[in-house]
Symmetry: C2
Subunit: 363 residues, 2 copies
């Protein structure tokens, strides 16, 4: 097996021999290096890009305490995905990305026959939405484990189909609340600083959202942090997901873990996807070498999550839609990094003088 | 004719009725609004995207005082464009952008038969490179006027061919020096703060570059700023271009003016393109409504130019290659803004509950 140092030098040489001043493609060069190292070659390839949107309902959403849109919107938006009318459909069509929509736990039955070719529906329902975490943990240990396993299985199948670059999106009314609670538990940031406006709560609703989630955090924090969780980050992560999670978030954790294990390029979307990544990273600390961060969300809190991870996303578009829309926009930019590495001429092959030739001609 | 206010409201309504929380597509919504207003419709379209790369040589480059690469590289890179081996070729192929390369004044003869289908060569040579502005103005009044007219003509022809979104790139060893001088003259920033490393001068070369360009600035500033230039910004702009310009920069000024006049979407690349835009904006102050800024260049100075213009580019990738590469990467993002406006379902058409329906159901 080729040593990491030799591989790195080989990719670096290839980048620097292209007909351009060294370093002049900036972030694209960084990505070319990362993907080359991940795939173990100076000629990396990106094949069959996919976005997988995990959808699930949240017990808390039925209370109306944290969300301006009614809970039914989760199911309505899944149908919108299947009919091709959502933002993620538009960007996937434009950028030739295959779109998969997973029913991870929506309070609605979807019939496979309703698909229109715009998106593939994957049935992986764990339950009819999570329980209300104001009263009890969002899911059972068994539901959590099945969620994570389903996420892994879905990614394995997509990878077997030839895909090696994947982004994860989500749909779930109420899930910015889950993400804020997860963020608080993992980064130590007070709940109030993790909570944002989500799909658009007003000032009064925001106060209610914060006080509700502070109560939720207090209720479960002892249980999350006790016993083996104190010394085992994986147990800690599972406890957080069980108490605060959505099925779609837990499934995304499994998806992150499997995609990184399979050395796929993993495109990280916004606030909720990054919350899932925080959980996944507790389980597999090496995860980030596979990850490219698509965008900084307009949801307050995302910036802090990114700083916690030391991540610098590609786009700063103030987007806060979810669905994987940031990831879908970023994929062409990631493809550009691999394309320049594979397709540009070298100084030699193009007959272009390099800086060295000037020094030579001047001496 | 539809009033601007009614049009703005109509585009805004269309954006807000899409199945997404209001404002949640951030910068994409801003672009959709800008392009809608520019085209005078709530259903804007982007057709046949083009990049035009203007290439020219600079008298100063023969001295080796400002540039680490030899002057011949300008011609070599034009051949590289025509053969499809440069970064701009890769990104145009990927993003289905037609590439035109203009010989605005390269010290080399290009034969049309050498084209390979990767890029169209346009002959518009004004001269065999500019004169050395250490000694005399870079070009004559007549050469300047012909440059600007050629730029206009080239854009007119491309627009007649059906294109309505266009980005301009450049190639010219020594042209970051022209751009720095232009920036200093227009923004009032001292020359030393406008000069950067270009394609990669080292510390000693940078000192020489700065002191050389300070001399050039001193030599011509009186002539640039005298008489009618004092009260007429267009004359001031022409004087700056005549003394400091390259043929490729002056041609790009004409191209900006014509593209904005024809209400094309104008994608602004990096340091040199923005210097040309500064000149064009002195001639036509209304220019910016047509402009979308692609990226913040890694060339120091560009950030200050952007602040001077109040511009916020789409990408921050530390790129400093020129050729229009930033513009080529940005075009799919601009297309996404128009696509969501045209293709997404509305709340009504998709049967998705809006926030209002929640308020209704709760009342």
């Amino acid at each position: 097996m080729i040593s990491q140092d030799i591989l790195k030098q080989s990719i670096s040489d290839s980048i620097n021999n292209k007909t351009k001043p060294p370093g002049s493609l900036g972030v694209l060069e960084d990505m070319a290096m990362q993907i080359g190292m991940l795939q173990g070659t100076s000629r990396p390839e990106l094949r069959k890009p996919h976005i997988v949107v995990f959808a699930g309902d949240h017990g808390i959403a039925a209370t109306g305490l944290v969300n301006p849109y009614p809970q039914e919107v989760t199911a309505q938006m899944v149908l919108n995905f299947l009919n091709g009318g959502a933002a993620i459909n538009v960007f996937c069509r434009q950028n030739k990305i295959e779109l998969n929509v997973v029913d991870a736990g929506v309070k609605n039955e979807f019939i496979t026959g309703t698909e229109t070719g715009e998106a593939r529906l994957i049935h992986a329902k764990i339950g009819e939405g999570t329980r209300n975490y104001l009263e009890e943990p969002a899911m059972s240990e068994d539901e959590l484990n099945r969620s994570i396993e389903s996420g892994k299985l879905i990614v394995s199948r997509i990878q077997k189909d030839g895909c090696n670059i994947i982004g994860f999106g989500e749909m779930g009314i109420g899930n910015t609340s889950s993400a804020a609670l997860i963020m608080s538990a993992i980064t130590g940031t007070p709940v109030r600083d993790c909570v944002g406006r989500g799909t658009g709560v007003d000032d009064d609703q925001l106060k209610t959202k914060i006080s509700t989630l502070e109560k939720v955090f207090e209720k479960h924090w002892g249980e999350i942090n006790e016993g083996p969780a104190n010394s085992n980050l994986s147990v800690f992560s599972h406890n957080i997901l069980r108490c605060f999670g959505g099925f779609e978030i837990a499934m995304m954790v499994g998806a992150f873990l499997k995609a990184a294990e399979l050395r796929m390029v993993v495109v990280v979307d916004g606030f909720i996807a990054t919350a899932a990544l925080l959980c996944a990273k507790l389980i597999e600390p090496d995860l980030l070498r596979a990850c490219i961060f698509a965008h900084t969300s307009g949801e307050q809190g995302h910036q802090k999550m990114l700083e916690f991870l030391g991540a610098k996303p590609l786009l700063q578009f103030r987007m806060r839609l979810g669905e994987g829309t940031g990831a879908a926009l970023a994929i062409p930019l990631i493809q550009s990094s691999v394309n320049f590495l594979n397709e540009m001429a070298s100084f030699d092959s193009a007959g272009v003088s390099n800086k060295d030739s000037l020094e030579l001609s001047q001496s």
